[in-house]
Symmetry: C2
Subunit: 410 residues, 2 copies
């Protein structure tokens, strides 16, 4: 008979979060288990009774191939913070009632550190009430800020998109014989992994960004302007990749210096930082008097599945599958992580880590992977990140645009 599985997606989407869903679904099928249900809009949607039978949606091989190429969360997502059981046990009772109703044996939750907090709380509560349900986290975030995993699925594709479009923007920026500075603003409110990925634009045919600003390095306006001035004496077009989370030594975000007031989400995070690129472009314009422009790479960083990394797609699929195997082996309160075996050649395996140790923590770019002056990445960063952007999975083009799996078209 086998076990019924329930799978959900949570937090911000990525280009490959659906590949993890595909890995979960197909592994359950291959292991001869019973139903696979999907939460619609994550735990929050589940609390509202939104549950799908995935066998009705994903049973054809074409559906799975399309799913791997479909950006954003196929099941829908949420940003829901689980209350502590002692504050609101009703939520737990309601969820475990739903689990019982559908005879769920294992719950897999694909998400970032907030989602791992959800898994940690559910498995702790489950233990307390002697539930046999297994709760397993599957890592996902473009931000690459989860601890205890070499990297997170979603990062490689975002990094590939960022490196590719930085090359294109650099070429666009050098087209006129004019002094100019271009600032590209890149996602990452706390950790600078995505801005660091801009350095991967540096290849035989491209110098890459001239300066990379990370949240890990306190911003000093004078040093920064001096460096821009020095660069502009050497080359007309200067390119800066800046994390949206760049801040000064006292912890003030540059985008707050620019005066924008951002709302706060359920987790106490600033919901939408923007304006760092604009701030820097204005700073340079007033400081050096040259032409500047600010470009936000925007939401495409998390949804440009047309340029996903094949390595990332495969790994996302595999950690999904590993989560299913972990549950079948009786593990709970764990996350399937990626463990790097070597960088040259790139090899990895999966392993299980304690989800409690992952929840609510953040991994920063190590200082030793940042150049001494704080404005570039080192060869160690490249050795780490370059393997993660290798390979492509061609979109299926229909009518000139990539085809996605929607809940209606197959």
């Amino acid at each position: 008979m086998g076990m019924n599985f329930l799978v959900g997606q949570s937090g911000g989407p990525t280009a490959v979060i659906n590949s993890s869903l595909a890995g979960v679904y197909e592994t359950v099928r291959e292991m001869g288990q019973s139903k696979v249900y999907g939460m619609q809009y994550g735990i929050e949607g589940l609390l509202n009774g939104h549950i799908l039978d995935l066998d009705e949606k994903l049973s054809s091989p074409l559906a799975i191939e399309l799913l791997k190429r479909t950006p954003s969360s196929y099941l829908g997502s949420c940003r829901y913070k689980m209350p502590a059981p002692e504050e609101n046990e009703e939520v737990y009772k309601k969820l475990f009632d739903i689990f019982a109703q559908y005879e769920i044996g294992a719950v897999l939750y694909i998400g970032g550190n907030d989602s791992m907090d959800t898994i940690a709380r559910l498995s702790a509560y489950g233990s307390r009430i002697n539930s046999s349900i297994r709760f397993v986290g599957v890592p996902k975030t473009i931000d690459n800020d989860l601890v205890l995993t070499d990297h997170t699925p979603g990062f490689g594709s975002a990094a590939k998109f960022i490196a590719t479009v930085m090359k294109e923007i650099i070429r666009d920026s050098t087209v006129y014989d004019l002094k100019s500075v271009t600032v590209a603003e890149i996602m990452g409110r706390h950790a600078g992994w995505l801005a660091a990925a801009a350095s991967l634009a540096c290849t035989e045919d491209c110098e890459g960004p001239d300066i990379i600003l990370l949240p890990e390095v306190p911003f000093q306006a004078d040093r920064f302007l001096n460096e821009v001035r020095r660069l502009q004496d050497q080359k007309p077009s200067v390119i800066i990749a800046a994390s949206e989370g760049v801040k000064t030594a006292d912890g003030t975000y540059l985008c707050d210096l620019s005066g924008s007031e951002a709302p706060v989400d359920a987790f106490g995070h600033k919901a939408a930082l923007s304006g760092t690129g604009r701030y820097l472009a204005d700073l340079i314009h007033h400081g050096l008097g040259c032409k500047t422009r600010a470009i936000e790479l925007s939401t495409l960083q998390r949804c440009a599945s047309h340029l996903a990394s094949r390595t990332d797609i495969s790994e996302a699929y595999r950690v999904g599958g590993a989560g299913v195997l972990a549950a079948l082996e009786g593990h709970t309160g764990c996350m399937s992580a990626i463990c790097r075996l070597s960088s040259h050649p790139y090899q990895y395996s999966t392993e299980l880590v304690d989800v409690q140790q992952v929840a609510n923590k953040e991994k920063m770019v190590p200082r030793e992977w940042i150049s001494e002056n704080g404005l570039q990445l080192t060869a160690d960063f490249e050795a780490y990140a370059r393997p993660l952007i290798q390979g492509e999975l061609d979109p299926m083009f229909v009518n000139g645009v990539p085809c996605h799996l929607s809940q209606n078209n197959l």
Copy 2:
């Protein structure tokens, strides 16, 4: 012996402007002619003595294949307005001296309507002084606003990028179970072709944008807000594609309306106008109270060669070659245009048109291709535009990112 050719690129770059350069170069070679020189930074660069021998750069087949996949103007570009000869004949004398020095028989200029003005002026001046040099324009602009050609090379690739990322953004926007409105700002200050291309996101698996705002249709805030309200009663996530050039009936750009509050930057100086998308997002937020976000598709619209249309690349190449043939046949003061033979199946040929009739004119989206309420495109627009985004030319990925032809790497 044959003729020496001189080729330049001018105006804003596109994803396929280099494919026209490839078409020019290879056609000159195939026709057994002599040298091909390139102006660096257009006519303005030429006036400063910047000229390249393209045989040193483009003679290998691999270089040509990379060139076709390289965004932005390989030769560099300029935005230089030719003075009238009666105002400043020195410029003409200097240019014709350079032509004589390099024994140039034909000048090809790849560009938009300003560049066609340059060709018109040079050929008129050449006739006046009995020069035998032929001056031929090769059309190029993502804006698709040139008259006397069915469409312009560059438009198809920009349209394919816009349609693809609109699909991805739409999917990203529906991920949470929340009412929200997303406004994507699309290039096109005068003509709405690019914003109209957002409608091509509408395919079996995607409804496409709910509203498309074009410069051709005067903006009425009340009607617009009513339509957004009506849509939001039907679906939580409403998507709007807006041309940066949307204006009110009295001709005021929305981005200028957003300047009525006289925004200042963090340094107390008047800020750059915040943009049409931001204005619309704020209007909706204040009018309807829902969550909104504004996304600028930005400069990637003109340089995302990683997602170029193969149809566009081929056509760009072919109009370049047709320009060479025109010059060899003795034509001057003309532009090689695209003439559509049929839409189903899509077939075209090239023809020569009078460049004087092209210069300084703009072609708008016809009113009959816009729906009656002014907020969508019709099937006639799709029949026109859909063929132009068909096909892909896979980038050559090296180290995980597309390889380009730079002036140094081959």
